[in-house]
């Protein structure tokens, strides 16, 4: 489509003999009228702070000596900091447990909505997406109250059924409880990303598969999943970044159970406390950049998932040919 548009416009510009050069040059810069405002704010909000963070991380501030350039000392310090590694280990564990569960549920829901084997689709779609509109603070409050002994949904259930459920806010269950809150908040969002991807698959592929005798599962694995590979990568990427940035949920639960959640529970909480409680801005910047770089590495690896998807993707063009 774009190639025809280009040929049309070039044909027109050669046809109009009157000063084609000047008009062309003006139009060349015209894009900046539209992109300029975004880039100005973007520079102020993201690029400048990033450069400033890198700059900060190379210095050390002491009460006596003032600010001095220390090169990579803060990074070396971070690499030897057990608190940093503990925080990083925690979010990595969270990433490997919570993200697959959440995305798995979201994928199931999206496939169900798209399957034509479900009634009241708009009701399900909206209800499951609704938690995304709930402020994170409110979500943590609700679940925090329900977990806690104060208003005790858990306690009520224990009484009601005569059982002993594990305490969701105890040391061994706190991560699962946080994972549940995060899943509740974002499962609908991811479902919608997958669902939008499924809706974009051409229906001819399903017809062709049906003619070839493919069943429900065959269609899912050979057409639907390869068809939303892009959406799955995007959802995975955002979830990885979200896991490494984990902050709101544990930070707010801290006021309920300060003993279970340390000041270095996640890298983000650690950096936050270093700078806002400890005034160690330089070291906090180094921690933040380091965890940022690690996030990018993990996100980059996740963008090239070898195996499953690539192998399945090979089937899609074949089906298209038979159609």
């Amino acid at each position: 489509m774009s190639s025809t548009a280009v040929s049309v416009s070039s044909a027109r510009s050669t046809a109009s003999i009157a000063a084609p050069k000047r008009r062309r040059r003006r139009r060349d810069w015209a894009g900046w009228i539209f992109v300029g405002p975004f880039m100005a704010v973007f520079t102020l909000v993201l690029i400048a702070p990033l450069i400033y963070a890198i700059y900060l991380s190379l210095f050390r501030e002491t009460l006596v000596g003032g600010t001095s350039f220390v090169g990579f000392e803060n990074y070396v310090k971070a690499f030897a900091d057990p608190k940093f590694w503990e925080a990083l280990g925690r979010v990595t564990g969270f990433l490997f447990v919570q993200v697959p569960i959440m995305l798995g549920i979201a994928l199931f829901a999206a496939l169900a909505l798209d399957s034509a084997r479900l009634r009241w689709v708009p009701l399900f779609r909206l209800s499951i997406f609704l938690p995304y509109a709930v402020p994170g603070v409110v979500a943590v409050m609700i679940w925090g109250y329900m977990y806690g002994s104060q208003f005790g949904l858990v306690a009520d259930l224990n009484d009601f059924f005569g059982i002993t459920l594990p305490d969701p806010l105890s040391n061994s269950w706190i991560m699962a409880s946080i994972g549940n809150i995060v899943t509740w908040e974002f499962v609908g969002y991811n479902m919608l990303v997958f669902y939008a991807g499924l809706k974009a698959i051409p229906h001819e592929l399903y017809e062709a598969a049906e003619i070839d005798g493919a069943g429900t599962f065959r269609t899912i694995f050979s057409i639907k999943l390869p068809g939303i590979r892009g959406a799955m990568i995007i959802a995975t990427l955002f979830s990885i970044i979200g896991s490494f940035q984990l902050f709101n949920e544990p930070q707010m639960l801290r006021s309920l159970v300060p003993n279970q959640i340390s000041s270095y529970f996640t890298p983000n909480i650690y950096a936050f406390n270093l700078s806002f409680s400890g005034s160690m801005f330089n070291y906090a910047a180094a921690i933040a950049i380091l965890s940022g770089i690690l996030t990018m590495i993990v996100a980059f690896i996740a963008q090239n998932p070898e195996g499953i998807f690539r192998r399945k993707n090979r089937n899609a063009p074949q089906l298209e040919e038979t159609a």
């Binding site: 894009g31 405002p37 880039m39 034509a116 009520d156 940022g292």
Partner: protein, 314 residues
Amino acid sequence: MSTETIVTGRRRSPSRLASAQVAPVDRKRKRGGSRHRPASVPVTLLMVAMLLYCLLPLFWLVVNASKSKDQLYNSFALWFSGDFALFDNIVQVFTYNDGIFLRWFGNTIFYVIVGGGGAALLATLAGYGLAKYRFPGRRAVFAIILGAIAIPGSALAVPQFLLFSSMKLTNTPAAVIIPSMVSAFGLYLIWVYAAEAVPDEILEAARIDGASEVRIFFSIAFRQLMPAVITVLMFSLVATWNNYFLPLIMLSDPLLYPLPVGLNQWASQATSIGGAAIPNLVITGALLTVIPIAGAFLYLQRYWQSGLTAGSVK
């Protein structure tokens, strides 16, 4: 199969994309396909379970916002109990501490309109510009935006604060609004959408008629971008309404707080020294925080869902 497709064709709401297809007969056949099967019991049961999971906490919120402080501690958590104290609680929420909740409410609306609205506008302009113009530095813009999306916000929060602090912007509304005005996701969505929905031929025709680039955008392109713009607006409104981390860092004056930060202050009041526990106000305040954004969300969904679905066509 043809009778089936006629039935299903009526049941499914016409989508923007489908209506753009060529022949009506062809369209019906395409919509049909493998549609209209009997409902699957296991799938329905699993989805009902999921629906309950998603709605249960909200049900809890409504139930408990209607309880008095005493009843909160002494009644079954998932059902109404005692006097219906919802309106009493609402009055208390709005009068507690010189009516600061109303102030937070106003702040939030202000931040949402300027910050969230600004984000949608900037993303729309930039997405359109990237999709429809070839200009010097375009590749650099690509690379910078893509790179910045990959950088987690956590790496930027502290330097953002320090930079804004050196510009004397911290503890002002600008510190919350300016960062809210960047939506890389919105830019991406408009970009993908504009590439498909705004034909170059129309722009070229308008140029020959002598319209300026800005006028072309506002009188022609903007209308065609509407479904995507509403989608982006919806996401940026939700993001700004729900923002907690940014105002937490940037603001120290409670009179400037948006609702989430204010609510969390109320919630943690009980644990601080000398603070009175006000759980019924926290819960009712939480409900009042959810209602406007959930309402906007439900109202706008018929518009924005088509934008999201169409935006995914690449």
